[in-house]
Amino acid sequence: MARIRLESAGKRYPNGFAALESLSLDIRDKEFVVLLGPSGCGKSTTLNLVAGLEELTSGSLYFDDATMNAVPAHRRDVAMVFQSYALYPHKSVYENIAFGLRMRGHPAGEIEKRVRDAARRLEIEPLLERRPHQLSGGQRQRVALGRALVRQPAVFLMDEPLSNLDAALRIAMRAEIKQLHHTMQTTFVYVTHDQAEALTLADRIVVMRDGVIQQIGSPEAIYDRPRNTFVASFLGNPPINYLEGFLREKENQICFARGALSLILPRQYSERLRGQAGRPVKLGLRAEEVDEHSVPRAGETLHGRVSSVLPVGSDQYLGFEVEGSLLFFRVGRDLRHKEGEHVALSVNVNRAQIFDASTGESLLWDGSA
């Protein structure tokens, strides 16, 4: 159990590359935090700093109130699961799981008990005498989890633990990891570039890019109120659609306009957007924010041409040309549109996002998580 605090943490490598400039992050005790971002965004570096595998070159790291900057990895109460599992090839499964306890001088009887318990919980008891090379990917993943959880650490770190598994297994393991967090009652920090994993597992998501935190917030907040176009684009499948245009005010209503298109923005946006008529903006529309069943109403409708229909089993993706832009929407599979057809699609404007056209910052963001 530990609260983790990074204050203006910086990491610069000997070759001059700065992985992190000045990162501040406060992770609450027993929280499940996911660091999300593309490769090279500094999320793994952040995790390594917390683990003590790399040293901060500036700033501070605290566990609860203790400074950890100079504490080496083997003296920190952390456990970690790696993408490649990193099992010891020359040790049996049992010894792999027991190794961390042995190194920390636990009595033999307790080690035996804890290893057996962990093995039972992860359903790998029959494998205890095997060597890692005799196991499947999923089994290795479980051994790696077992090795971390027997330690009963204050901080549980995971570096893309599911990336090497196939899709079906990945979803099953997500559920298990969530369960594990629930029963272990300890702080989890989880690194991934998979937005679905982040949305499923996290209490809070930290979206990172080029060593800088873009946004911290609950999965709902990150998804519904992205701070900028980077965050908006990183979550959602298919990705969010953008339309460039202008703000316009008429009859006390604020509209988004592009060519013949005019969408009336919801009333709760007016406070932030008032008096900015003529400002070039980007409208963000998530793929699922069309309502194919409601009657098209003025100011909430996109008129355009269906350019492609892509069935994906449970539903279908529509390629939709509006005012010279190609958008993708996810609609139910019972909707029968043909390619080349001109249709009107009703849009859920209440969830539309408005970004500055040049900086990509959200004009709706109020600073709250």
Binding site: A51, H74, V78, F82, S84, Y88, F99, R147
Partner: protein, 296 residues
Amino acid sequence: MKRIFLFCASTVFLVYVLAPVAWLVSSSVQQEAEITSRPPHWIPREPTLENFEAIFAAKEKQVTYETRRQGDPATGGYIPSTARNLVPAMWNSLIVAVAVVILNLVVSVPAAYAMAKIRFVGRSASIYFMLTTRVIPDIALVVPFFFFIHKLGLLDHLGSLVITYLAITVPFGVFILVGYFESLPDELDKAARIDGCSRLQTLLRVYLPLAVPSLVAVVLFTFLTSWNEFLLALMFTQTPASQTMPIIVAAFTSDFTISFSFINAAGVLAVIPPVILAVVFERYIVSGLTAGAVKG
């Protein structure tokens, strides 16, 4: 057709490599008269162990020009005046070789681990610098080495050989091990440290057990280099107290006369320790050498 060619070629190669060894072993159990007979007898007519007995018996004898015919009936009467130095010289060689092997491992294992797994300024430069020292021929180093050893007061002392052989063998040892350690995933290193190992424990408990093939390669290379080395031993040792076997065996040819049977017997003794090492570690040798070579 291709197979036949390959078979013939390997046979020729095998004969080329093994024939001298076979002749060495065969003639070591022949008497002087039989060795010099024509045509040579590949299979001894009257095998004898007298040559070997002579080596061990020579230990107590002071051989002079006058007494040289008394010692050894097998050699037809010839026994080199330095013969009694052979057994002590083998001990010297063994002591030097074992000391170099152990010290080499003590130095090159941690060095290789650091170079492979710890990012520090000048890391790759240090690896290349170390290898560069090895493209300089030993003969060019003899004089500086000599002054160095002289300053240390280690002339005619086994220590001089241990120091200089380490200078020769450590770079290769580090090179082979760096290549192997680099081929092991970094995450293994991280996992061990998270599991509670210090850097040293990580090295000893996780990396060393995995690096056995490479360690064997380093041990063999180091042992053979030290066991065979001639030039530096010739320069730095003057008396039987510190002379190694290659020096003593070489001296057999420049004595009052040449005793083929005696030299051959000494040669067989010289081959035994490396052969034992090779047999013991046989299954690791090939994999260890390539592991270092593929990545590095």
